[in-house]
Structures are given as C-alpha cells and as structure tokens.
Symmetry: C2
Subunit: 307 residues, 2 copies
C-alpha cells in the first residue's frame, strides 16, 4: 500500500492509537510516526515495545512537523491538548481525533486551531474491553466503520484522511456531528451505561450471594461485564459530553422497560412474546449486515454450529 502521510503524530497512546500505529506499519502508510502520552509510565512502555518510531516527551514535540495529528486522548482532555499543540502545527497539516462524541470535541478543539490547518474529526467504531499501549493490534479496524465529520473542512484533506482510514482497514462514512452523537447514543453510549448499571446491581447482590453472581455469569451477565470493563475515564467523558442524546435515549429506554415490567407484573404473556419475537428479527438484520458472526455464543471456544 502506498504511503499517505509523511509524518503522523499520535497524541495519547491507548488502545486506538496503538492499533493505529500497527495498522500504519502494516500498510506502510506513513514515513514516520511520532507518539506522546501524558503518563511517563505509558511512554516507557511504548518505547519498550517499539510503539511509534519516536516517543516524545511533550505533545508539542510530537506534533512538530507532522502532516497529520490525531488526538487519541479522552474527550475531556481534547481542549487542553489542542491548546498546547496549536502553536507548533505545520501550515496545511490535518488535525483529527478518534473521540466517541463529536459535537463537544469540535467545540473543544476547533477554537484553538490556527486558520491554516484542516480539522477533520473522526470516530472509528472499533474497540475491545482492553485499554492502554499494549492492547493495540493492527487488525482492530478491519471491516469496521470509521465515521468522518468533516463539517465543511477542505475536500482534499478529507479525502486524504478517508484514504488513510480505508488503508487501515476501515469502511468510511461521513455524517454531521449532531446525527453522529444521536446514532452513537443508541448503538453504544446507552448500552454501555446500562451494562455498567447491571454490573453494579449484581455487585451489590454479590455481597448477599457470595461469589455466585460471578460463578454463574455465563447465563447472560458476562456479556454485560465485558462491556462494563471498558476504560472508565473514556466513558466518564463520553457521558458528560454526549449528555443530551444519552439522556434522551435513556428516557426512551426507561419508558420501554416500565412497559415490559408492567407486562411481567400483570402476567401479559402475549405482549412479552410479541416483543421478544420482534427483537429477534433485529438480530438477523445485524448478521445480514455483516456486523457480527452467527456462530453461537460469538464462537467462544468449545462451541460450534449445530450438528
């Protein structure tokens, strides 16, 4: 694959940035990749495992001369990082990010940037429950979506960033920030909050039932715990910065949950059966859209398709 940028700077070295580095190397997409993390321990780890060609001791140093700067820090840290790097940005450079919300990132970052750089926000819809510099791998973005929110950015800069994400394996779509935040509130943010809640409830009860909640978690609960194991700082920032859309979807969720709860209380089996039949069909849609495996139990070891 052809080189797309001369020099790429990755600010923040967690799961997404480290996966980007390995995907860039896999495709030969940049001549040089610099990196920076706020924590010295993370920088040491990155140097130890050869993550980034140069790990710098400041964000400004890492961004100096970069053609593409990607902010891979929690959403709540975007504004201060943008302020710090703004003075050293190369004229004509592209600045992007990987934040899970877009409206608040745009309002945090855009005011700090000079006129002569291109700001093209992005959000790769990929992740695992692991975090930190050692959690990345080159295949993370393969066949996953990356949403660009160019909002009037330079067409050439946008096209180049699109090519970059496609070369890292992603399928790219563009969207406006408001719509992005609503869609993500449904597909990601609210499900995460609910999973966190359910795990919290179970933990309360664990004190009553000893370790049984963990012991018998395979019955459905363990899928929630995986979702609820994601990075706490990242998710705190997501909820604080996508507040309106999350609260809107949570409101709908509670309304719906109360309807089902009422059906249980009143013994309305027909309502429950209809509801569950309908949700089952939605699963089929996701399989058909190629966004998950049809292997039972996600193909965890020891299971296979019916004989």
């Amino acid at each position: 694959m052809a080189q797309i940028y001369d020099r790429v700077a990755l600010i923040g070295l967690g799961l997404i940035a480290s996966s980007m580095y390995w995907a860039i190397k896999r495709g030969g997409l940049a001549k040089e990749v610099t990196g920076y993390a706020r924590s010295q321990a993370t920088r040491e780890t990155a140097r130890g495992i050869g993550l980034c060609d140069i790990v710098c001791d400041s964000a400004a140093e890492a961004c100096d001369g970069a053609d593409l700067v990607v902010l891979c820090v929690p959403v709540g840290a975007m504004a201060s990082v943008a302020a710090e790097i703004a003075p050293v940005l190369k004229p004509g450079a592209t600045v992007s990010d990987v934040g899970s919300v877009k409206k608040s990132v745009i309002s945090a970052v855009a005011p700090h940037l000079p006129e002569n750089v291109h700001f093209v926000p992005a959000h790769p819809l990929a992740g695992t429950e692991h975090s930190g510099p050692t959690s990345g791998f080159a295949e993370l973005f393969d066949n996953r979506w990356c949403i660009l929110v160019p909002e009037g950015a330079d067409a050439d800069a946008t096209a180049k960033l699109r090519a970059f994400w496609e070369a890292m394996g992603a399928n790219v779509e563009t969207m406006d920030a408001e719509h992005h935040d609503l869609v993500l509130a449904v597909t990601s943010h609210t499900p995460h909050l609910i999973a966190y809640t359910m795990v919290g409830v179970a933990d309360d009860l664990r004190r009553v039932t000893d370790s049984e909640v963990i012991k018998y978690s395979a019955a459905g609960f363990r899928d929630f715990t995986r979702i609820a194991a994601s990075d706490p700082t990242m998710w705190r920032d997501v909820f604080l910065t996508n507040k309106d859309a999350t609260l809107e979807i949570l409101g709908r969720f509670t309304e719906e949950l109360f309807a089902l709860q009422r059906a249980i209380r009143t013994g309305d089996g027909e309502m429950l059966h209809d509801y569950f039949t309908h949700t089952r069909e939605i699963r089929r849609g996701i399989i058909e859209a190629g966004q998950d495996t049809d292997a039972p139990d996600f193909g965890r070891s020891g299971t296979k398709a019916g004989e």
Copy 2:
C-alpha cells in the same frame, strides 16, 4: 465413559435436549434415548438428522420404560406434560427438567408425579442464541454449570443425575429453589430483559435513522442483540414464572440507573468514574473464575491479543 442410565427420554427437542442427546452419545451414557416434540415438523427434523434413537409421537410413549425422563419444554408447558406422562412412569424412575426457573417448575410438576418416582429438578446454565432441534452440539455443557435442586429427593437418584451431568461435561452444584431463582434473576433473567428493552428502543429509532443502528451496531449494541435473539417462548415463560425475583432485581436496577442518570445530568464525573472503575474489577473476577475468555471482543475473528 460408563453407561449411567438404561433408557433416557427427552421431552421437547430444542437446543438443550438436542445438545444432551449428542453429549449422551459422545459419552455412551445411555443404552437408548427416546425423544418427543409437540410439533410434528420438529419430530420430522429430528428423525432426519438422527436426533434420538427413537422419536416417538407422544410424550407418554417416549417415557414408557424410561429410567430418566428429562422435561426440556418451556416452563409454561411443564405442568401439562407432567400430567400427561405421570401414568406411564416406571416405578423408581427419575424425573428431571432443564427449566430456567425452579420454584414454579416444582409447583407445576411435583403434584402430578406418583410417589414411586424421584423428582430431581435441574438447570444447566448453558445456551446460545440459537434454538430448535438442529441447534444442539455435544460440547454445549462442557465446563458450564448445572444446578440441581433436589429439595429432599432420594440421595441415590440425585447422585446418579449428578454423575450424568458431570459425564455430559458440566460442573454440578446443588441449591434450593428460592435461592436459585434469585441468583438467576441477577445473572440471567434481568440482563435478558434489559437487552430486549434496549434492542426495542433502538428499533424505534431505526425508523428515524434508517439502517444506521444496525450498520453501526459493533459499538456495543450488537452484544445486546445477541442476548435478545433468544427463544421468545422460553423467555416469556421465564419472566412470568420468576416474576418476584425479576421485579425485585429490576427495581434495584432502575434505582441504580437513575443515580447514574442523575450524575450525567448534573455533570458528576467523579461518581461516574468511580462507578466504572468498580465494575471493571468485577470483570476481572469473572475472567479469574474461568467463566469467560480474556481475548478481546470475545475472540471474534480478526482480533487478537496485543502485539
């Protein structure tokens, strides 16, 4: 492995019964296995794929002369099946089941059974989102839990059933019915209801956002859709028959969700961060308990551990 029962009857031929059949065959645990399903189409399918040594046209016929009868029908169908088979049960036979709730199964089944059979309720904590006679596989119970609820049943009959489940690959525990129903309300029933609800909410919104909810489901939502794709009849019966424990856990869930919702609304980042840090630790407990894989994203194809 040694033969444990002469003749086993499986009543209902869905995911659990068909998996039991293949596990019995794998271990040579019975001389003969009979099967029955209410639907003629299911019986035809079972005959077509060689599921059970004999597929009978009535439950009574299948149970005639059986040393072990396992009721693998939805919880709501247990009482009528028990009434139907009671007259033909062999003296000294063991009757068991695989229902997801135990108190209501016991009160539905026990009154119908003659004095001279042993009733040992059971619940294997294993499943996939698939259902029906073709969905079973021999390894379903390997390293999963099976909970026996003997409640004063004959010790020899209980020991034999325990050996049978262990030979099918499961780890066996005993518990009283009330406690079982509470633990399962936390680890399974409430998580399922919540997943159903979230998928329902998303579907409402899908009409607004077209197919985007499905398209971008990998961001967390798809794990909910898998859970919400389980058999509608089975789950309707679970909620109707484990009503009290489910409503109790739902009450706690709603309380907790409102606390998190309030933290989002008021911008209490510290509360959110503490909560998410805590739930992350619970995940570690489950990995250490050997009840899930630590592979990122459940080891779905294309992902692997960090480089």
